[in-house]
Symmetry: C2
Subunit: 224 residues, 2 copies
Amino acid sequence: MSTTALDRSLVQRLVRDALTARLSNGYAKADGRVAPKLVVNVSARHCHVTQEDLERLFGKGHQLTPYKWLYQDGFFAAEEAVTIIGPRHRMIPNLRILGPCRDHSQVELAFTDAIMLGLDVPVRRSGDHRDSPGCYLLGPAGMIELSRGVIRHERHVHMGPSDADYYGVKNGDRLNLRIKSSCSAVFEDLLCRVAPATKLEVHLDTDEGNACDLAHATHYELFK
Amino acid sequence: MSTTALDRSLVQRLVRDALTARLSNGYAKADGRVAPKLVVNVSARHCHVTQEDLERLFGKGHQLTPYKWLYQDGFFAAEEAVTIIGPRHRMIPNLRILGPCRDHSQVELAFTDAIMLGLDVPVRRSGDHRDSPGCYLLGPAGMIELSRGVIRHERHVHMGPSDADYYGVKNGDRLNLRIKSSCSAVFEDLLCRVAPATKLEVHLDTDEGNACDLAHATHYELFK
């Protein structure tokens, strides 16, 4: 197993634990309503696969095994990981699969990952594969070729209806995220993804998380 | 030669060329003064070495050979590159040396690089090596150990006295940088480094450049 991938996972968990421990982001609206608990997590590079692709990679009838439950209920990092192979045979091992299986296979990379692989990936929301490159994925039972679907997932915030009400947004609207740290930054235009039974959670990629030193952030807030 | 390092160099050059071509950043002060030409460049990971360390790495009497001249007059990426070796024998080949030689040896990494190497690096300005880890550097004539000096260089903007006057800052003050792109961001608290005969130029690291998709930026500006 790649020590690089292990360390990313470790860093990601440390960041998540540290940030989850902060129950309030410390600001309230003028009407006295307290801001909902905001969690900011980094999504390291990963992929989603269909059940069919999973079986081509891991064998007939294979089912994903949860390795670590994610912040959103029902979603998990799987024990299963694959190797992604890009142009000119560059590759990254231990690309984690996130479960459960989906109706489309998709790879989500940070630009740093993509540049290393030699891929020019567009910034897209999940499932939008316009003009995206493909890749090979290698598992213990076989290799598959994705003709497209390698993207940088655009920064976004998951929220439930009451969170959307608090921020005055609806599904598809945009919010900005301020991170205070030794490398403070404002990430603009986060896509709001509103759905029932969803916890308020921002997803950044590793480039964004590292650019603002999220691991040592002292404050963060969402604003219009 | 590592193809990874080559691609980083290529990307960096493409970014620099694209951004240098934009002569104006499109805003003027209320008094009609036009903003000075602003260039935003990404500094990929690199190192600086003393003449003494250079000779231990490349042999007695060795001199750096310019490979590519940088935007600031007199500075260059050298043909010479070394391999950086971190804890647990992880390494990155083709770490470029920037010239001319300095009075201290120093390695500048993005957090993504540092995490990959297993190094916990602080955010520091050049020459400030408080609490910074060391590393091994390997050259064709020998290996040296730096006891410290591996840092993430804090984001900063080089400027001449007339630029400082335009922005109303002095050496050591801070400015914010707004980047408009498909991943817009504001990087806060850039250190202003004012010196005679200096061109106005922001230096971001690869994490920051990738986080805001600097290569496809449509607008950028410095503001207080």
